[in-house]
Amino acid sequence: MNQKQLHIALRNCGKIDPEDINEAIIHNAYEALGKVVTEMQPLEVIGIIKLSGLRGRGGAGFPTGLKWELANKSKGNEKYVVCNADEGDPGAFMDRSVLEGDPHSVIEAMAICGYCIGAAKGLVYIRAEYPLAIERLKLAIKQAYEYGLLGENILGSNFSFNIELKYGAGAFVCGEETALIHSMEGQRGEPTFRPPFPAEAGYLGKPTNVNNVETYANIPAIILKGADWFNKIGTEKSKGTKVFALAGKINNVGLIEVPMGTTLQEVIFDIGGGIRGGKEFKAVQTGGPSGGCLTKKHLPTPIDYENLTANGSMMGSGGMIVMDEDDCMVAMAKYYLDFTVEESCGKCSPCRIGNKRLYEILNKITEGLGTMEDLTLLRNLSNVIKDTSLCQLGGSSPNPVLSTLDNFYDEYLAHIKEHRCPASQCKNLIHYYILEENCVGCMACARNCPVNAISGERKQLHTIDQSICIKCGICLEKCKFNAVEVK
């Protein structure tokens, strides 16, 4: 089952001690950097990255070689290499694992990038919520300096490169590259128009290359093993592998890396071990708050950038949240909107106001107060927000709404027309009942009810007062006779 995995970005995670640079060196760390600064020219290296077909692993999938080429061609001798280690998607921990398990792969790749584009300074923007990753990265950088693998005249060449850490402060929007750059400059993390792209004018207005942690982790492998090796893996337009963080109602929650083209079926059922508790698979959310949900009919889809987008979702950074029959899709869309409303920087009206309205409508529906007009409004508003937002936070935040409307319209209808939540999750639409045929009057539920909503004599049928019940579910948990039902 795990044979379907192929670890490239994660090649050393789980094999080496991340706090000992000698271990990394035993596993070929800095050999690619040595080869590049001693034997190759910048454009030659860029050619290899382009030929490999590597695309940005942060989510957008922009061709990495092309990005480096654009920064290389920008005029100026003050340039910057930036690593985006903000990893804001809820449920995503791919970048954290790379930094905690093999920080040198990223340090080496940043130096290689610096050599290619003509930058002497690298910056890692890492979220403050990753203390272990920060600690290990700091230690790795210190050890690299001690060996002269960072600093002046690396490995006897003319190339010098320094790396500094900058810390995030809990803003999802700072994962967007222009907001990230402004945050590093000490300004409020707000996105700005592109063009100009960072490759032309980024950090401090200078040419800057911004890439994700996982993108960098692939670079040394591509340099040492060759572009042809890399581009044989994956699909026609999506080369190499992708790291996914499997989370949710799946048995084998964890980190995997599979060649592009592996199907969702294989990831969720073969590697992931299927749904916990033997329940029915309902949907998988890829791309976090920017993505959409894929359903049973999408299971045979080979995973790659184009296929996921064509099916209403996106690759995203790699978070995969698996949902089962007990998850309400309307509530799920509401959860993501709650997140994006909180995280919106507020600069542009469509995102600031529009997302809030989307959230309010979804909340109304989960409370059983939705109307059919609300559904039309949800769709129209979503499209407007997508079209007119300044950055991709707003540009993609309606995706969970549109995707659930497309794939689970019946759930929305049940909430609105029948005042019923098919997954029995939305509190206002579910009721707890005591079944006469099973109740023995043991009083366990009544004793444990936090709001005293249950009444009944010993050995007599108990009843729940619906006007007091807060749907906490404790009675269901405590009843040993299967006498509590949720409908």
């Binding site: 995995q5 789980g14 080496i16 040595g34 272990l132 964890g254």
Partner: protein, 132 residues
């Protein structure tokens, strides 16, 4: 640590380190037959991997077993933390999950001493690329 002055020196350093590494050199391995890697990323540590690693080191000493125990990053089996990988001479590495103190004892007594596999083996390990 001295600065590495050239690409050639880096490759030499790598070769020297490999010669001293218990995972790479048969000579060094002879004295340390048992190799244990403990997954210590945030998920592992949160599940108690640090205590397990300390426990293993102590137990190996107490039971006079020549073992090399090291920490690594995430192995990917977050659902089964704490996880560890045991490599015995001439055998493929075996990964164990849900390693409590009791399970660690079982791994030492059953697998390391007798070659018998206890419950909780994680099957079908994934491929990792070779950089050479």
């Amino acid at each position: 640590m001295e600065k590495i002055k050239s690409y050639t020196d880096l490759k030499l350093l790598k070769e020297n380190l490999q010669k001293q590494s218990v995972f790479y050199s048969q000579d060094v391995r002879k004295d340390t037959p048992v190799l244990v890697r403990v997954a210590m990323a945030t998920c592992g540590i949160a599940s108690g991997a640090k205590e397990i690693m300390t426990y293993l080191k102590d137990e190996f000493e107490k039971r006079s077993i020549n073992a090399f125990v090291m920490k690594t990053g995430c192995m990917g089996y977050c659902y089964a933390e704490p996880t560890l990988e045991v490599t015995l001479p001439d055998k493929k590495p075996v990964v164990f999950g849900y390693v409590t103190r009791e399970k660690a004892d079982e791994i030492i007594e059953k697998y390391i001493k007798n070659g018998e596999l206890p419950q909780g083996v994680i099957p079908d390990l994934y491929q990792t690329i070779d950089m050479e």
